[in-house]
Symmetry: C2
């Protein structure tokens, strides 16, 4: 097979195969596309990758991704942001999802994952200690646990509730219920049970 | 939104979104994976991309992808390969699929696509003239049309049959029939019709 795919192309395919959910066929398709496309396209991707780790770092307060030139995240720095309200999320991109709603004006704290024994992720690998410090330093009044509605998300939320226990602090969790625009008959049992439990008077 | 995703990361996401079939969410996932992974992984992909166009070119005879240092494809050069038998394929990676069978010892000719009026691909964009020259120069005895079993593949095959018409040359087409391991009841009507038409005595 060695002579069929030239070495430089094989290297690219192998590198692309490392991406999550990308198999050999998809990697081949990406590589062939990049080869056929304008050379500038491959160059653009190449330089974006080359500078990635140099130009981005984690905010030491919130662990959000920030420009390497910045000290802390603008979402923490901004005086319009209420430091006493902290939304706890698993990954940096969860912030993007919440920011898109435009209806949250507190700050964030990225855990860097969720507790998952299967994936060998324990509480000590997450930024929990730093969160506790922030709670005390910034006199946080509300902790919004905005982790996924999965088993890992729920158990991480439970763990956090225990960790902050004893402090005078409101701990809330994102509401579970019917997604907007979804028919009741298509909702699964657990979601519907949560929607019933969390019903509100109108 | 500008402050939520740092500029260098946004550039990477935008570059990844150019890949075929990759939407904003998948691009974000790839970018975040590359950021979290070892810096070497991003570096590896970056350098593979940077050298791609410099280190690969098309074989002037077969239009297969070859190392830029080579004159012609090793699949054409090799004396063990029968130059008088040519398999015509649409894309370079089709060669890989046929080579994997290990049961073909002729040479290849890559068309560089298929005739598709919808995508603005006409016969003049494909390497058809070069194929005609090869047929005459190499005294080709058999032309195996190994294009897809799609409308574009079939019409390109028909066109090629017309173009080479008049020459003393066997033109064949890959057999259509039941894929090995697939139940007859799951085969579609057209495939089954072709399988009946192409039935062989045992």
């Amino acid at each position: 097979m060695d002579s069929v795919i030239p070495q430089p192309l094989r290297e690219l395919i192998e590198a692309l195969e490392q991406l999550p959910g990308v198999g050999p066929r998809t990697a081949e398709r990406y590589a062939y596309y990049l080869l056929k496309a304008d050379q500038a396209k491959a160059g653009q991707l190449s330089s974006a990758l080359a500078s990635l780790h140099k130009s981005i770092r984690y905010c030491p307060k919130t662990f959000a991704l920030i420009d390497a030139e910045l000290e802390v995240s603008p979402l923490y720095d901004n005086p319009a942001r209420d430091k006493r309200q902290v939304a706890v999320v698993a990954d940096p991109f969860d912030i993007v999802a919440i920011e898109k709603t435009g209806s949250y004006h507190g700050t964030y704290h990225v855990l860097g994952g969720l507790v998952s024994p299967i994936d060998n992720v324990g509480p000590e690998q997450l930024h929990i200690e730093e969160l506790i410090h922030r709670i005390d330093d910034d006199k946080v009044k509300e902790l919004i646990l905005a982790t996924n509605a999965s088993v890992e998300g729920e158990s991480t939320a439970l763990l956090l509730t225990q960790k902050v226990g004893g402090r005078k602090l409101k701990v809330t969790r994102l509401a579970r219920g019917l997604p907007v625009g979804v028919d009741l008959e298509y909702a699964d049992q657990i979601t519907l049970t949560r929607a019933l439990e969390g019903r509100q008077s109108i």
